[in-house]
Each structure stands twice: as C-alpha cells, then as structure tokens.
C-alpha cells in the first residue's frame, strides 16, 4: 500500500471533507444561499483522494465542472472554497470564479473548468513544462465518461504520447454525462481499450474503494514520473446526487441511488477495510468526522458573513498589466 497511519488518516479526512463540503453545499443551495450552477462530487471522493494522495510539490491537477472534490483533494483551502461558492470577496477567486472555476495555481490546482474536456490539453502543457525543465513532476487531468467524447480530450491524449510527457488522464466513469448513459454516448463497448489505443497504459480502479484507486493511481503516476510518458486511470463509481443540484434524475433505474449510497459508499468502505492496511481505530475516524463537520460549519459561517465584492472589483484581474490606452 505504501500509506502509513498518518497517510491513512489524512486520506480519510480528505474524503470526509469532500463529502461534508458537498452535502452542506447541497443544503445551502436548497436554502437559496448559493447561486449559479453547481455540480456535486458526492460519492466519488475516493477517486480524487486516491489520486491526489500521490501528488506533492510541483505536481498539478486540472479539474472539471464537478471540481470541488479534486480541489480539496489537492489541498485547496476549504474556507476559501466555501466563500467562493458564496461569491464573497474572500473567496479563493475573490468571488469571480464560483464553483466551476475554483483554482489555486500556485498550489498545483490549475482550476475547475466549465468546459467539458477543457482541461486535458492544458494538463498536457503543464506536463510538457515538467519535461522541458527536467523535473519529475506529473500533471493530472480529470475527465468524466462524457468528457472523453470531446475532441479536445483525444487531441490531448495523442499529443501527450507524441511528446512523451508525464500527463495522467483520470477518467471518472460515473455512468452518466448529464442525463445520458455511457452506454449510449461512448459508441464502443470498451472505453478502456479505446483509450489505450492512443498508446498509453490505463489502470482500472473501483472508485468505491479508496485503496484500489490509490493502488491504480500509484502505478499510473509511477509510470509517468519515471519518464515513460502518459498513463491513464479509469475509475468506476456513480455519483450520489444529480448532475447538478435540482436534477430530477429521470434516467436513474429503480433502486439505483439507494444501492449506490448503501452499497458503494467509499467512506463506509474505508471504515470497513482500513484494518487490512493499518492500525486505525473507529474512534480516530469519528474524531476526524467531528473535526470535519466543525470545519465545514465554520467555513459556512464565515462565508455567510464575508464581505461581498463591489463594483470597484469588477474590472480588475482581467490583465496583469495593460499598457497605456487599455480598454
């Protein structure tokens, strides 16, 4: 496994933080507290954390419209994120970005991204930079099962192979792109094979099982860090919520959601199986649960009362510098 006790506890804390962040966000949206389009990551936490626990230093990620989990997993400030959802001036993006654009570039987060498959080409660029500089860092992009049908995603995969750069393509199959099943939108029968056809290995993981994702991610990232070019990670795990908050989910089969929440919860799974990997007690995890809950409470309380941006903030941050005569 390669995770010591601290590592196991940290991984759990990260997953739990994502879960509670998302559940609370859901509540606050239903309360009318948060504006805009918000896509929750609830249920898929093990994907993000299983991958990001391998990252540090100059390693970067680039995320999707469903980005909260990836950002938290890579270490984004949770309070800054919550404030951002509220559109507060203290938000990670000063309220200018919102849920779909949370970023922290200096800390390796090249941003959530509102454009499906907007991220993979950019990720290849960060990977290319690593190669040019002779660094061993990797660049991770997350894509959904729907996103892989966008041309930009294919281009990025091929270019990464051509340039042999350390780009990691994480494909999160949650079975749907919006209201459409992967069975329909991906024409071929075997998405893993289609992806491998581009010329890099894809490691498959059960996204309900943190330990399995962590293993697969380790193999993929190890491959790339060693200078062997790109690699893929293919995680299967349904989302517990609708595509966006408010989605009536008419595409779900009977009992599908109950089954997901009941049988395929990565937090439950972690608790049930962590003993195989280290000496972690239920109490320790309970303590984390409580800490996480109070962190989220604080984050919400602060976001709620944080100052809002004003008209004066509107047109800053478009350019770093705009020479004389700027618009």
């Amino acid at each position: 496994m390669g995770l010591d006790k601290d590592g196991l506890l940290r991984a759990y804390r990260q997953m739990k933080t994502i879960r509670e962040f998302e559940e609370r966000t859901f509540t606050e949206i239903m309360n009318g507290q948060i504006a805009g389009f918000t896509h929750l990551y609830t249920g898929q936490e093990a994907n993000a954390v299983g991958v990001c626990e391998h990252l540090s230093g100059n390693d970067t990620i680039i995320s999707t419209h469903r980005g909260h989990g990836h950002c938290i997993a890579r270490g984004a400030d949770v309070k800054g994120m919550m404030a951002e959802l509220w559109g507060a001036a203290s938000g990670l993006c000063k309220g200018k970005g919102g849920s779909m654009h949370i970023a922290d570039v200096d800390n390796g987060i090249l941003g959530a991204n509102g454009i499906v498959a907007g991220g993979p080409p950019i990720s290849v660029g960060a990977a290319l930079a690593a190669k040019i500089r002779g660094r061993d860092n990797v660049s991770v992009s997350f894509s959904g099962d729907g996103s892989v049908n966008q041309g930009t995603c294919f281009e990025a995969m091929n270019l990464a192979v051509v340039l042999k750069v350390p780009a990691i393509f994480v494909i999160e199959n949650n079975y749907y792109s919006e209201h459409t099943s992967i069975n329909y939108a991906v024409g071929c029968d075997d998405l893993k094979a289609r992806t491998e056809g581009f010329g890099f290995p894809v490691f498959v993981a059960d996204g309900a099982d943190f330990f399995d994702v962590y293993r697969a991610a380790g193999e993929a990232i190890g491959h790339a860090r060693a200078g062997n070019g790109p690699a893929g990670i293919f995680c299967e795990q349904g989302r517990f919520q609708g595509h966006f908050v408010g989605d009536p989910q008419g595409y779900r089969g009977e009992g599908e959601l109950d089954n997901l929440r009941g049988e395929r919860d990565c937090l439950q799974h972690f608790r049930a199986r962590v003993g195989e990997y280290g000496d972690v007690s239920a109490e320790e995890l309970d303590t984390i649960d409580a800490e996480v809950l109070s962190l989220i409470d604080e984050a919400v309380a602060e976001a709620r009362t944080a100052p809002r941006p004003t008209a004066a903030d509107l047109d800053s941050d478009v350019y770093i510098n705009y020479a004389q005569g700027g618009a």
């Binding site: 559109g87 991204n113 454009i115 499906v116 209201h179 008419g250 903030d313 509107l314």
Partner: protein
C-alpha cells in the same frame, strides 16, 4: 390570447414545424435525455426543457441525443442540411461555440459562397446565451456579436416569447444557416403567444416603444430593461423610440436610421463587452449615415471589458442596469 413563456413558445414552434415538415429534426446533448439508461428516455428535453416532448412525439430519429461533441453536432447538422434536411441543432450554451466554431464559421457559413452559390445549408443552431444566472465566465457570454461578424450566417436574438416563436419558424424555413440565440434569463418570461404557427421576417425590427426625444436600440435580454428604463423616464417628460432589431444579420438599419432622423439622439444597449461589439457596430453605422441629424454623441451602454463574473453582486454590476440605461438617455439629452 394565451400567455406562454419563451421556453414554451420555442418548444411549440419546434412541435409545430416538425409536425408539418418531416425534414426537420432536432439534435444535441440531452435534447431527449435518458438514452442508454435504466430510466426514462426523453426525461430531459434539453437542460432548459426547450425540447421537451419531442422525443415522445417524434421518436429517436427526429429527436437525437449526442455525445458531448459539439463539433460533430454542428457538423452533423451542416451535413444533413447540405443534403436537404432542416436540422435544428442545440448547443447548450453559446459559450460552447469555442469548441465548434470551425464548423459554424468556416464550414456552414461559407459553403454557399465557396461553392459558387450552388448549394444551400438550411441548418438552425440554437444556443442559450447571456448573463443572469451566476453561471460565470464560461456559461454567460452572448457570443452573438462575434457571429454577427461572420458573412454567411444569419443571427437572431429574440427578446420575448412572441418573437421567439415567429422567428424560430422563420429560421427553420430559411434556406441559409441561422444562429438562434436565446437569452436564458428570458426563458421563464411570458407574454401573449398565439397557438397557431406564424413567422416573423428577418431584417425587420420591432418598435416596442415610440417617442420623440431619443432612439434606443437594444438587443435580447436588454430590450426588456430598455423598456423599463424608458417607461421610468416618462414621468420626467422624456419619451423614446425603442428599436429591437430582432436579427442582427440581416440588420434593419432603415428603422434605426428613420428613428434617429426624427430624434437626433441614439443610445445602444447590449450586454456584451464593448470591443468590436454590436453597440459599436450600430453606433458607427448611425454616426456615418445620420451624421447630419445627430445632435449628441451616440452613447453605448454595454458590459465592461471583462469576463462575466460569478458573484451575483458583481454580475448585477456587469450587466447594464435600468439605471445605467436611463443615465445614458439623459446624457444624450444634455
């Protein structure tokens, strides 16, 4: 007459035209919804519900879900149109023109010219556009100003449910490629809309307010605000013509110029950023053609030169407000 929302008016136009013309079909992401799932096919009807019921009524060959592949969607529409169909493709947000611009700008728009006038491409592409949902920088742009720049495209921006229905029916029956921009902030706005099909010709502006002092030209979402701004100034004895061009390409410059000939003053309102936009386009045209009648500089009221911000507070500052429109009108009268 029954009141209908813009969403329902567009939906009705699609239902009616598909019923009478079997070359019409819709294609896009989740225009049906539920395909391949264990749930209900047809459960979505578009993420804004605009194509609701088409799958049930016309089946899988005429209400066609696609993968997230906008270039392929537009290309499929363009190709089907070249061989005689009348596709209505949906690109969910106009911002996504970014991932399918070539098929719109270099293919559809140019076929007829490049091929020496020997073909037609009667495709319609529908987009939800504009700000107002705190949808941030990649889901709130208008984009119609950039598409107005492209020879070969017709560009439609309805400002109310009545116009939306009539313009969409014209768009589907038009033999040229038409981009149809639906300000998403207006989907829930209702007005009287006849049940029967009817068309509104392209290149004919509407004039929802008439007055003597100032000409106001506004596009899409801004038409309602301009109306409110004008109505609010009535008490102060200011009266305005309000011109809603409805189509920016072709543009009814006659109506605008006639109005300016009478008022001598012009305010142009759009929610896009200022550079190379529609407000400049109209202002330049009028400043040239009505040079002698203009008694004051043409005022442009538009968004600042910034991406659309997420925060509701900032977004409210970003989109031209009734106040700002009124201030501009007053300024031209000074």
């Amino acid at each position: 007459m029954p009141e209908k929302t813009m969403r329902d008016a567009i939906n009705e136009a699609l239902h009616q035209e598909m019923a009478v013309d079997d070359t019409v079909f819709v294609i896009g992401e989740d225009v049906a919804g539920g395909n391949g799932s264990d749930g209900t096919v047809g459960c979505a009807g578009g993420v804004f519900g605009v194509t609701a019921g088409l799958y049930e009524k016309f089946g899988p060959l005429r209400c066609i879900d696609t993968p997230i592949s906008e270039s392929a969607i537009v290309g499929a529409a363009a190709g089907a149109a070249l061989v005689g169909m009348r596709p209505v493709a949906e690109i969910m947000f106009s911002d996504f023109i970014g991932v399918c611009m070539d098929q719109i700008v270099n293919q559809m728009a140019k076929f007829r010219y490049m091929f020496g006038g020997k073909t037609r491409c009667p495709a319609v592409i529908r987009f939800a556009c504009g700000a107002g949902f705190s949808a941030a920088a990649q889901h709130s742009q208008t984009m119609y100003q950039m598409m107005t720049a492209v020879p070969g495209l017709k560009v439609v921006i309805p400002s109310n449910a009545y116009d939306a229905k009539g313009l969409l029916l014209s768009a589907i029956r038009d033999d040229d490629p038409v981009l149809f921009f639906e300000p998403k902030a207006l989907y829930q706005e209702a007005c009287e809309v006849p049940d029967e099909p009817y068309t509104i010709p392209f290149g004919e502006a509407a004039m929802p307010r008439e007055g003597d002092d100032v000409t106001v030209v506004a596009f899409g979402q801004m038409v309602g605000r301009a109306m409110a701004a004008i109505d609010g100034l009535e008490a102060q004895g200011i009266s305005c013509d309000l011109v809603d061009p409805r189509t920016t390409s072709p543009l009814d410059s006659e109506t605008i110029l006639e109005s300016v000939a009478a008022t001598g003053r012009l305010v142009v309102v759009d929610e896009s950023p200022p550079r190379c936009g529609l407000t400049a386009d109209i202002a330049a045209m009028v400043s040239e053609k009505a040079f002698r009648s203009l008694q004051a500089p043409v005022k442009q009221v538009c968004a600042p030169h910034t991406p659309v911000p997420f925060s509701p507070d900032l977004e409210a500052e970003y989109v031209p407000s009734i106040d700002k429109i009124q201030a501009a009108i007053r300024e031209t009268l000074q």
